[in-house]
């Protein structure tokens, strides 16, 4: 260097050869550095920059960044160390100028977090990502760019983990890698330190096993992880990681779903849950994750200590069969359900509803159904509570689950108390209130109290409540009175339940709100409720009111007498209301309340009260309005209702009953107001049973309109549960019930069936839903035409079948006892006897063997799309209905098919199936076997369609003929549930011989009927199991197929069950009757 040190002139001259910004930035930086570095150092610095710029074409950019960064760098490192930074940058620049530039750009801010020594490692990480390609340089550059932000969150080892992950991922996709990198600072900064390591570790696993999910993991992983208990995240990720290595592509979904599931489990239980999952992981990773996924559902039904027990059973299953164990933990096995059920103390309504239904039916003598309370709330007819039991006259609504106590028995006891109370409302006729009918205990004063010229009411209950100014108070008092009466009647009539009921009442008393401090009138109502619960000792009220309260209690006690009627409750309400009216609704100091452990119930005064229609206030020196405490009158509010008694809405029930009666063509008696929307509206507005505040604010009109239409609907909808007939439960005649039965038949019914999973060797509980409906009616033309066209065959089969008959009364000879002597045998016997032969046998009788033909048969027709094939073309086509996932393709094909069909008359498989059915029906009618014809098809497990062409008990008629016309190819073939359903129907039918004939054209096949679309074993095994189940129920199944390739799978499917492959489809009509004959002989 010849020039004076510190001038940098030479360097500047050379810098000028590069784009101008380089020199400009150099000069600016040099100026800034002037005070900090010696001129010599400055020269070296310039030279260093030049050295960088010379490395490659675009290396000047790197040099530029070097210049710009130096003033910031020397804030952090000594000048002497600057060369190290330069050195790292230089070496990166040799790789790629972009990297070099990025390095210098980020170096200064990164040094805020890293030491100088670590800077080298940092550069090393960038180099690790750089693979000499354009994409990799962009990734590495990006890494350097975000590094300042990154190191704000991570330390170097973590960054190394991240880089390792990015590198692995970049092998698959640079785009994903970049995306993850960009997300990293934001995502990772929110995490705890120890979570981060685990998170990155798992990210690495994801990159290896299911790289496509890496981005999703980066974007959502942190949030998901947040849901796992704070101390447990690392453990969870470790587990997920371990599983992921084996589960491959499932890694992320497992992670995500398990995390979501854990979020629904109490955090305190996460360690235990994870511990249990870990113990499964060694055996099967998926099982461990499935366990976590099922955890919240299991936990909902089991206490934590029982979860371990459930887990243990599953672990043992897992040890013997991985598939079985996984299904178990997926809650897709009957065993899993069973174990939960046996461990669980809670009682689910769905499991006991049938028992309770019959119990209520027995108690009330009216057809009842049991439904979940939610169903009532859904109807939108005034009941809004979703927890407490109720009834609206024909159904008893109960909460879906009871788990109050530690044992199933006790919890069931709760259900029993609930339903007994609701049924008792019907049994003891709470809803049968008649305004003018006198009670049996208290004198009737209602009629005289009623003002003249009143508006006619819709129901008796409404008319009664019209007597009161404060309907809410009246309704509360009536509820308390009526519940007192009903509970007393229950205790009297059902002594077995008395103890349970008393305990439930005691439990309720404990949860009642504090009465002290309530406004007085409200306190009075609350005390009435307490008294109705048998908690007279729990009453607290100001002492001045002792005689009044005594009278009130007396009134309630009268209702407990045998023979008390709902009308007595109404009278009691009037008396209680009068008392309440005299009590101002003011708040008193709680000190003024007195406990009344022993209350003097004044039954005489109670009975006498109300003798005068004017009321009793002020008589006999009892407290009057005058000596009621001063204070500000509060608006009256209802005390909280009693849980086990639920929502008692007599006014609505009466209204519903009336609407029902009228909709089924019943009477309208003169004393009622006509049922008009206006009237209903009016009732709606005044009744306290309907909480208008639940309607959308400011939208009262339309809400109430909807309410009314709901009411109409509820009144018109009969109970739809199986085996139910609707009848008004107030004893009124059930008009038009017959008509409704008819229309009910048309309704779609749902049935659930298990499905056999041969891998897990267990059932998947409630897996398939059968949608049963009666097939639409078409023309009877097909039926008649078939008979015409096939008249020869018809005559022939009929003859065959008629021959069956005489065989029924065959003579059996040579019996010890019988109807008559067999002359030949008798002679023989006598001869032998006379000749004194020892072996003379007295078998001289004969008897007609009375074999009654008692056969029920169900024909199950395959209505899958493949039956649409024309017979002649069958050979050229694959025999599968392969439209699994694309309904459009299917529709297009179908439409095409239809069009072709119209153009020329070609018989399809389904036509042959139909023809055979027609012939068989004709023949069956001659021998009088009961038979049902059913078709099935569907798509997926949730919708297996089951069509009734003719029910087992249904007589043959024109409707059946017309339905046959509508048998047509529809969709897939899920045979298992269809067979189970047909077997169920046969099972319900009483016959000595039961036969199930399955008529199909191919193997069972459906969406999700197997691991994937090509798998056949699953479907075949399930079908086989369904056939075996039928056999176990004493049904003879028989499979008939027109699929020539049928032998291969039928052999497996029908191991020891009869089957036949009809080679020539055309011969089916003649073959089927013959076969049937053979089957039933």
């Amino acid at each position: 260097m010849t020039q004076e040190p510190g001038s940098g002139a030479a360097a500047r001259a050379r810098l000028a050869e590069y784009p101008s910004s380089l020199l400009r930035d150099h000069d600016a930086a040099r100026l800034a550095l002037a005070g900090r570095m010696s001129p010599r150092e400055l020269d070296e610095w310039s030279a260093a920059g030049l050295e960088l710029a010379a490395i490659s074409m675009r290396a000047w950019e790197s040099a530029d960044e070097f210049f710009k960064a130096t003033p910031l760098l020397i804030e952090r490192v000594p000048v002497s160390a600057l060369r190290f930074v330069h050195e790292y940058g230089r070496s990166l620049t040799t790789e790629s100028s972009t990297l070099g530039a990025a390095f210098f750009r980020s170096a200064a801010p990164v040094l805020e977090r890293l030491t100088l020594g670590q800077l080298r490692d940092w550069a090393g990480l960038a180099r690790q990502l750089y693979k000499g390609t354009w994409k990799s340089s962009s990734l590495a550059g990006q890494f350097l760019e975000v590094s300042p932000a990154l190191f704000a969150a991570l330390d170097l080892p973590e960054a190394r983990a991240l880089v390792n992950f990015l590198e692995t991922l970049s092998v698959r996709s640079y785009e994903l890698s970049v995306a993850c990198l960009n997300a990293a600072p934001r995502v990772l900064s929110t995490m705890e330190r120890h979570d981060r390591a685990a998170f990155l570790g798992f990210a690495g696993v994801i990159a290896e096993t299911s790289w496509a999910d890496a981005r999703a993991f980066f974007e959502h992983g942190a949030r998901l992880l947040q849901q796992v208990g704070a101390g447990q995240r690392g453990r969870f990720l470790m587990l997920a990681g371990a599983v992921a290595r084996r589960a491959g592509r499932q890694a992320y979904p497992f992670f995500a779903e398990a995390a979501e599931a854990l979020a629904r489990v109490d955090e305190a239980e996460h360690p235990q849950m994870l511990g249990l999952a870990e113990s499964l992981a060694a055996e099967s990773g998926p099982a461990a994750m499935e366990f976590l996924k099922s955890a919240p559902r299991v936990r909902q039904r089991l206490r934590m200590e029982d979860v371990a027990g459930w887990h243990e059973v599953g672990r043992r299953i897992l040890a013997s069969s991985v598939e079985g164990g996984e299904a178990y933990f997926r809650l897709e096995s009957s065993k899993g359900e069973e174990v939960i059920e046996s461990l669980s103390a809670r009682v689910e309504l769905s499991r006991v509803s049938e028992i309770l239904r019959m119990y209520c039916k027995a108690l009330t003598g009216t057809p009842m159904t049991i439904q979940s309370v939610a169903a009532l709330a859904e109807k939108g007819v005034g009941w809004v509570d979703e927890d407490r039991p109720s009834t609206e006259g024909t159904h008893v609504y109960l909460p879906p689950v009871v788990e109050r106590h530690g044992s199933k028995e006790e919890n069931f006891g709760v259900y029993k108390v609930y339903s007994t109370h609701q049924a008792a409302h019907l049994e003891f006729r709470s809803f049968d209130f008649r305004f003018e009918r006198p009670g049996s205990q208290l004198e009737t004063t209602r009629v005289t109290r009623e003002p003249a010229g009143r508006e006619p009411a819709l129901t008796d209950m409404e008319r009664f409540f019209d007597l009161f100014a404060d309907r809410r108070l009246a309704a509360d008092l009536f509820t308390a009175a009526e519940d007192t009466r009903v509970d007393a009647a229950v205790k009297r009539e059902y002594s077995g339940i008395r103890r349970t009921l008393e305990r439930v009442q005691q439990d309720e008393l404990l949860t009642r709100p504090e009465v002290r401090g309530m406004p007085l009138r409200q306190a009075f109502a609350e005390n009435a409720i307490r008294a109705s619960l048998g908690g007279e000792q729990a009453i607290a009220f100001p002492a001045v009111f002792a005689p009044m309260l005594g009278r009130a209690i007396g009134v309630l006690r009268i209702l407990q007498r045998p023979g008390a009627m709902v009308e007595d409750s109404a009278e009691a309400t009037l008396r209680l209301y009068e008392i309440a009216e005299q009590i101002r609704n003011v708040v008193l100091q709680s000190a003024e309340f007195a406990d009344w452990p022993e209350l003097e119930a004044d039954i005489e005064a109670a009975a006498a009260a109300g003798m005068t229609a004017e009321g009793v206030g002020g008589e006999g020196g009892q407290p009057t309005v005058a000596n009621v405490p001063e204070g500000e009158e509060q608006p009256y509010q209802s005390p909280p209702p009693v849980d086990f008694r639920g929502d008692f809405k007599p006014e609505l029930v009466q209204l519903l009953m009336r609407m029902k009666a009228e909709q089924s063509g019943g009477r309208t008696e003169g004393q009622y107001a006509p049922l008009t929307p206006e009237q209903l509206q009016q009732l709606l507005e005044k009744s306290v049973e309907i909480d208008i505040s639940n309607f959308v604010e400011g939208d009262l009109d339309s809400s109430s309109g909807m309410f009314l239409s709901n009411l109409m609907k509820a009144a018109g909808t009969p109970a739809s549960e199986k085996g139910q007939q609707r009848q008004p439960s107030d004893g009124a005649p059930a008009q038009g019930a017959g008509d409704e039965e008819e229309s009910l038949q048309q309704e779609v019914q749902y049935f659930y069936y298990d499905e056999w999973d041969f891998r897990a060797a267990d059932y998947k509980p409630g897996w398939c839903r059968i949608i049963q409906q009666t097939l639409d009616e078409g023309e009877d033309e097909f039926f008649e035409r078939t008979l015409r066209e096939q008249s020869g065959l018809v005559a022939q089969t009929r003859k065959q079948f008629e021959l069956l008959k005489p065989e029924l009364y065959r003579k059996i000879k040579r019996l010890y006892d019988g109807e008559e002597y067999d002359l030949d045998a008798a002679i023989e016997y006598m001869v032998e006897r006379r000749s004194r032969r020892a072996q003379a046998e007295e078998k001289v009788y004969w008897r007609r063997n009375k074999v009654e033909r008692d056969v029920a048969v169900a024909f199950l027709l395959d209505m899958s799309a493949s039956t649409d094939e024309e017979i002649t073309r069958r050979e050229q086509k694959p025999g599968d209905d392969d439209f699994d996932d694309d309904p459009r393709r299917y529709l297009a094909w179908w439409a095409q098919k239809k069009a072709r069909e119209r153009s020329r008359e070609v018989k399809r498989i389904i036509d042959i199936e139909k023809e055979s059915t027609v012939l068989l029906m004709e023949a069956l009618e001659t021998i009088g076997d009961s038979y049902g014809i059913f078709g099935f098809s569907g798509y997926g497990r949730e919708c297996v369609e089951f069509y009734v062409v003719k029910g087992l008990e249904e007589p043959f008629g024109d409707a059946v003929k017309r339905r046959i016309d509508k048998i047509m190819p529809i969709r897939s073939t899920r045979m298992g549930p269809a067979i189970r359903h047909a077997a169920f129907k046969l099972d319900q039918h009483d016959a000595k011989v039961k036969i199930l004939v399955l008529l199909s054209d191919g193997r069972p096949q459906d969406h999700g009927y197997g691991r994937d679309r090509t798998e056949k074993e699953y479907a075949i095994h399930d079908t086989k199991m369904a056939l075996n189940e039928a056999k176990r129920r004493g049904i003879t199944p028989f499979c008939l197929t027109v699929d020539r390739a049928g032998h291969d799978y039928l052999k497996t499917m029908c191991e020891d069950i009869g089957y036949e492959v009809v080679a020539d489809v055309q011969s089916l009509p003649s073959r089927l009757p013959t076969l049937y004959r053979r089957l039933t002989e």
């Binding site: 049938e354 028992i355 309770l356 239904r357 019959m358 119990y359 039916k361 027995a362 108690l363 009330t364 003598g365 057809p367 029993k416 007994t420 009539e493 059902y494 002594s495 077995g496 339940i497 008395r498 103890r499 085996g723 109807e819 008559e820 002597y821 007295e842 001289v844 009375k850 009654e852 008692d854 009483d990």
Partner: protein, 293 residues
């Protein structure tokens, strides 16, 4: 009657109730039966099992045979210490015409004719009670046709005889419309030869008295049992083919009278006796546990 040390044995036509059977009339069935007997009109008793049909027949036989009875039949064989003889035939699906009329039996040197129960009743003028008549084969029911109209004749084909029915002869058949399938219904030509008296389970208060009397339990217990009966009968057609019979309730009462706890007694005598369906059993058991402590 032959009395051995171990048992008493009667010829079929000689047996008659000798102690007044306990029967509590629910309606006018007693008057109806008396009138029918007097007018020689065959009687069909309809009703579910265990509601007292057989008891009613025995009671009527006793009543009609009593010397004090104002319609004591002239030709009837009045038993010295009881009522009219009753010949009961429980019909089953293999019951043939010869089972009713009679048959040849093999004897040492040939055959010997033996009268069937119907023939004996016809000859002696007894009440012949065919229990569960629809169970019998259809060809056998035709046999009773000439007996049940103005002719009152029993043709005995194999002997070539026709027997005129004795004065006290009355054919009574019973029939439970509840569980007979359509297959097993009475033919109209048979049906329309009888007047039909309809039996149902007695109302709660009557049944209480019956149970109390028959099983020797306290009236309160009997009332609970009657209540149980009423509740369980509500389940008929809703899972139960037939309601619980008074007979079963009496059995339960007897067990209780012997010291079996009521819940257990009802379980064995009612719940398990009625059905094998576990769910219905459970439902009925819940009713039992509600009623009995």
């Amino acid at each position: 009657m032959t009395t051995t040390g171990m048992y008493r044995q009667y010829a079929a036509e000689e047996y008659a109730p000798h102690v007044e059977p306990f029967y509590l009339p629910v309606g006018d069935e007693v008057e109806l039966f008396e009138a029918a007997f007097e007018q020689k009109i065959p009687v069909l008793l309809k009703g579910p099992t265990g509601c007292g049909k057989t008891r009613f027949v025995e009671y009527m036989a006793y009543r009609l045979g009593r010397p004090v009875s104002h319609i004591r039949p002239a030709g009837g064989v009045a038993h010295p210490d009881g009522g009219l003889p009753v010949i009961t035939v429980a019909c089953h699906e293999d019951l043939t015409a010869s089972d009713l009329v009679g048959r040849y039996l093999l004897d040492a040197d040939g055959t010997r004719w033996i009268d069937g129960p119907l023939t004996r009743a016809v000859k002696t003028g007894a009440i012949c009670y065919l229990d569960e008549v629809v169970e019998a084969r259809k060809d056998t029911t035709v046999l009773i046709h000439p007996l049940t109209d103005y002719r009152r004749l029993l043709p005995v084909e194999k002997l070539g005889q026709v027997i005129e029915a004795g004065d006290g002869f009355l054919l009574v058949i019973s029939y439970n419309p509840g569980y007979q399938s359509a297959l097993k219904d009475l033919k109209h030509s048979t049906r329309q030869r009888f007047i039909a008296i309809d039996f149902t389970y007695p109302p709660r208060d009557v049944e209480t008295r019956v149970i109390a009397r028959e099983s020797d339990v306290a009236t309160e217990v009997a009332a609970e049992l009657a209540k149980l009966g009423e509740k369980v009968r509500n389940l008929k057609e809703h899972g139960l083919g037939e309601g619980v019979s008074t007979r079963l309730l009496i059995y339960a009462g007897r067990l209780i009278a012997r010291g079996i706890p009521p819940r257990r007694a009802c379980q064995v005598a009612v719940v398990w006796a009625l059905t094998d369906d576990a769910e219905i059993q459970r439902s009925i058991e819940e009713v039992v546990t509600s009623i009995f402590e």
